[in-house]
């Protein structure tokens, strides 16, 4: 009796933090079935996730699939790119069946080139001061708020930080970005570019501190053939699988996962 009473009491206490509760009970589904299964339903809503991988590992593709799948269930999204111009991005996207131009036209998926914004702000395209970066961050937040997006991508945080001159500036910016994202009502993917064949999650070693989750895209060598892999390294608020999956990218289905065969290769 005492036990159940204290249980109820605890429940109520948890109930005080209703926001947190709502967040954890309704995950942000990625729409990539096997990934959602791994995550116990999807990305925890409101989380900031670092999507790590070397060039060509599938970061942009996975992010876009996450956005378009969100749009299909009525969740608006925005994709901030700083690595490639929009025409190039859409040209690659058009090859995938999950992409539908109508999502762009209807404003459910918004693609924004951060370099054009920084140009409009009159910033030096290659070098940012702390003020520049903060101004950019403000605009980014305004856009996200105005569009009332539920899903936000920055592709990539590496390229964004690359424009800052010192480690201190990068650290300050990343923490500012972190608190900014935490105050927004959306689930965020920050892509992080790392050199191939290295187990590290970020270029500057700080990016992971603002992340609630880390997903690592890598590969394994099987007799000279590279097999794409995906692994959830951490995900706050979920009892996620930590096994390595084999990942496939195809025009028809975008990104798909299946358990990686483990026998010695």
């Amino acid at each position: 009796m005492t036990n159940s009473e204290s249980y109820v009491y605890n429940q109520n206490r948890i109930g005080l933090n209703e926001n947190e509760n709502a967040k954890s009970s309704c995950p942000c589904i990625t729409g990539i079935d096997e990934l959602d299964q791994k995550l116990g339903g999807g990305l925890p809503s409101g989380n900031t996730v670092l999507l790590v991988g070397s060039s060509g590992s599938g970061k942009t593709t996975l992010s876009m699939q996450f956005l378009t799948n969100g749009a299909k269930i009525g969740e608006r999204g925005v994709f901030f790119t700083i690595t490639e111009p929009l025409f190039k991005l859409t040209k690659n996207l058009e090859k995938f069946d999950f992409y539908d131009k109508k999502m762009i036209e209807s404003g459910m998926v918004n693609l924004i080139d951060l370099r054009i914004i920084s140009e409009r702000l009159g910033l030096d395209a290659e070098k940012y001061t702390v003020e520049d970066a903060s101004a950019l961050l403000e605009i980014l937040k305004d856009i996200a708020d105005e569009l009332d997006v539920k899903r936000l991508i920055i592709d990539s945080i590496t390229a964004l930080c690359y424009r800052l001159q010192t480690k201190e500036m990068i650290r300050d910016f990343i923490f500012k970005l972190g608190s900014s994202l935490a105050s927004m009502n959306c689930t965020t993917i920050l892509t992080s570019e790392v050199p191939p064949n290295e187990v590290k999650y970020s270029q500057y070693g700080i990016e992971e501190f603002i992340a609630d989750g880390i997903i690592f895209l890598g590969d394994v060598d099987r007799k000279g053939d590279l097999i794409r892999t995906l692994q959830v390294i951490k995900m706050r608020g979920t009892n996620h699988s930590r096994t390595k999956s084999a990942m496939s990218i195809s025009s028809k289905n975008g990104i798909e996962l299946t358990p990686l065969l483990k026998s010695r290769v």
Partner: protein, 193 residues
């Protein structure tokens, strides 16, 4: 080759496929082309089945050259694991090309994707041609894991499997998994047929 031989083979294939969820066929290489003929004739006669043919022994092109009617069948799809690795760049809408026979996970994904779109009124059946050729490109332990995994996944979706192995290319490993994972083993002997 005599028609009675092919008819006899067809009869055995037919019986085994209808009753068992996973059939393993161990045959001498000299009977391989007879088995192919019997199998393709049987497949083309069954409109109530949907077939996925996993081609590892030879490219899709060679198969349809030999059995032209196969390219006209609407209830068969091919997965070709050897063309790309051999530098053959042909394309065919009836066939999915896998870059390398060592992309075993990709093979599983493609097999399951094809069957996912097939209605339940058709009996779904996967032909693996062959486990022994798969073991040319992959370590035995990996082939074992692949086959085990595949059998588990297909059974769950009521997909039958029909796996070929060439006797001369067989070792203890392949022999063991075939016996462990099949409901029925057909062992063809030259003398017998």
């Amino acid at each position: 080759m005599s028609n009675t031989l092919i008819d006899g083979l067809k009869e055995r294939v037919s019986q085994a496929i209808t009753i068992n969820t996973s059939v393993g066929v161990i045959l001498p290489s000299s009977n391989y082309s007879d088995m192919m003929q019997a199998l393709f004739e049987y497949m083309s006669s069954r409109n109530d089945h949907f077939w996925v043919y996993l081609a590892i022994s030879k490219p899709y092109e060679n198969i349809v050259k030999q059995f032209e009617y196969a390219s006209q069948m609407t209830n068969i799809r091919f997965i070709d694991c050897v063309s790309r690795a051999a530098g053959i760049t042909n394309k065919d809408p009836n066939c999915i090309y896998i870059e390398s026979p060592s992309y075993l996970e990709k093979i599983i994904i493609e097999i399951m994707n094809i069957f996912k779109e097939v209605g339940d009124q058709l009996q779904k059946t996967l032909i693996i041609d062959s486990l022994t050729s798969l073991s040319i490109y992959n370590d035995n332990a990996l082939v074992t894991e692949f086959f085990t995994h595949l059998i588990n996944r297909t059974r769950l979706k009521d997909i039958h499997t029909f796996s070929l192995a060439i006797e001369e290319e067989m070792d203890d490993y392949i022999n063991k998994i075939m016996y462990l994972r099949s409901n029925k083993i057909i062992k063809l002997r030259e003398s017998f047929i």
